[in-house]
Symmetry: C2
DNA sequence: GCCAGCAACTGGCTCAAGCCACTTCACTGG
DNA sequence: CCAGTGAAGTGGCTTGAGCCAGTTGCTGGC
């Protein structure tokens, strides 16, 4: 994908790139608006005088750029630019928790006229992965944690997964360790009752291609990356009390943080 | 990439996925450690009794997952998991600006024993794109802005691009509008002198596959997404005074924010 | 009028073969 | 000793062929 790889040393583009370029500019110009169907692979091949495999390769390039998606048996379509669901620091806001009965996730999804669903698929007691243990703080005297796995849907499309790790000494005896239902005010209200009001958060954000498992689990189309957010909840005494790893489809979701510049 | 697409309806995996799986687990198990060279396409084809194209397709799957990278003429190698350069809110910290002479970017790169370089490639007066104008606030009486384009390198690898937009009324007459060199304390020190100390930031984060241009410009390997950060600087009076769009290679960089939960 | 089933379309995947371009290295001849 | 050349290996890309598997719509039988 270097410029040197685009051309076979004379000035001409490679056939597959050439076809891809044509389609790309047709999309950019609006000749192929979002939702439009591309010519079939066989039609493209005929039109540009290349093998079907070459037309196919051109489509693959566009797929990898996230411009189009293919549907087996139906055709290849220009991807709709859906507005992103944006999540940020207000996700944890105390007032927002009390005012609207809705969780921030539900609120954001509702804002786009879609219907939200959150499933807690498992609650177990486990040993935390290394990076999580690290962020939960030094003392691994009792290193076991409660692991809660949550799946988030919008209109039945899986949108993100969150895996929360809570030190056993905190979760022990509370609904955190046992129940999928969190009750009024949800997760962070429970932490507050247990003496851990969330006052600071740390969010380590990466982007990468999904693993095989994530791609199938979140039914992520080809050419769509994920946002990988390692979130740490910190209480009023500066103690980390919870770590969550979010894996989010990057074509449906984004982040929106606003914060003071501290000094 | 659905599970249904992995198998041709009897239980057997497709050949390409099969080969990919074998390689994937060899990588996971450490048989193929980071930096190791995979067998050549022709060797894989022979070993698994498939066509070279099929072996090639298997490697493509791994490339798309970001597990391996190919080097023309040399071979295919397991990608090194390089520690990410992490950027966060302290990027704008006043004290950090004064204590170390280094810019936050240089500091983070130096921390990994690499050498940083920042090039300001262009300074122009332009009309801002719509999303930028929106974030710079309502009054588009004098809608023109100074556009500064900065390229960031680590050991001569291009790592990210930042395009900063500054309202003309702010930049006018200052080095912001004219000079690539920012002087002591760099960009945000100049804003402070002009009556706009940076006190809040907003960061809208997305991830996506790079465009064709970005892929070539940042020499991004196949299968690596970018982080797209739309950053807004806000002064003590709540006025946005600068918007920067960062496009960052996601295999080399990440974000690390820590912020209070506000109420 | 309905619906089962077929035909014709779509993309998904594989094959076998060939040529090109980059890399490495050993072997030349100066 | 060195520079130059060329062979052998690598991935990059294309061809043209074939079969499979979803999708759609028509058509003929009931």
């Amino acid at each position: 994908m270097n410029s040197s790889a685009d051309r076979p040393s004379d000035g001409t583009q490679l056939p597959s790139r050439q076809v891809a370029s044509e389609l790309r500019s047709a999309i950019a110009s609006g000749d192929l608006p979002p939702g439009a169907k591309l010519p079939s692979e066989r039609a493209l091949a005929a039109k540009y005088g290349v093998a079907r495999n070459t037309a196919r390769e051109a489509i693959r390039l566009l797929t990898d750029e996230g411009l189009v998606t293919a549907h087996h048996g139906k055709g290849v379509f220009v991807r709709e630019k859906r507005r992103l669901l944006r999540f940020g620091s207000e996700r944890y806001s105390h007032s927002l928790r009390n005012e609207t009965g809705l969780s921030p996730y539900r609120a954001e999804v509702a804002k786009q006229g879609r219907t939200a669903r959150v499933d807690c698929t498992s609650i177990e007691r486990v040993q935390p992965p290394e990076d999580v243990a690290e962020r939960l703080g030094a003392a691994p005297a009792e290193p076991s944690v409660v692991r809660r796995e949550n799946w988030y849907y919008a209109d039945d499309d899986p949108v993100q997964v969150g895996v929360t790790y809570i030190p056993w000494e905190i979760a022990e005896g509370s609904v955190l360790a046992t129940s999928a239902k969190m009750g009024k005010g949800s997760l962070y209200a429970r932490f507050e009752e247990l003496g851990h009001p969330i006052t600071r958060i740390r969010e380590e954000v990466s982007a990468r291609m999904p693993t095989h498992e994530e791609a199938t689990g979140l039914s992520i189309p080809d050419g769509v990356p994920v946002l990988d957010v390692l979130h740490t909840g910190i209480d009023h005494l500066g103690r980390p009390f919870e770590v969550t790893r979010f894996v989010m489809r990057a074509d449906l979701t984004g982040l929106d943080y606003t914060m003071p510049v501290e000094d």
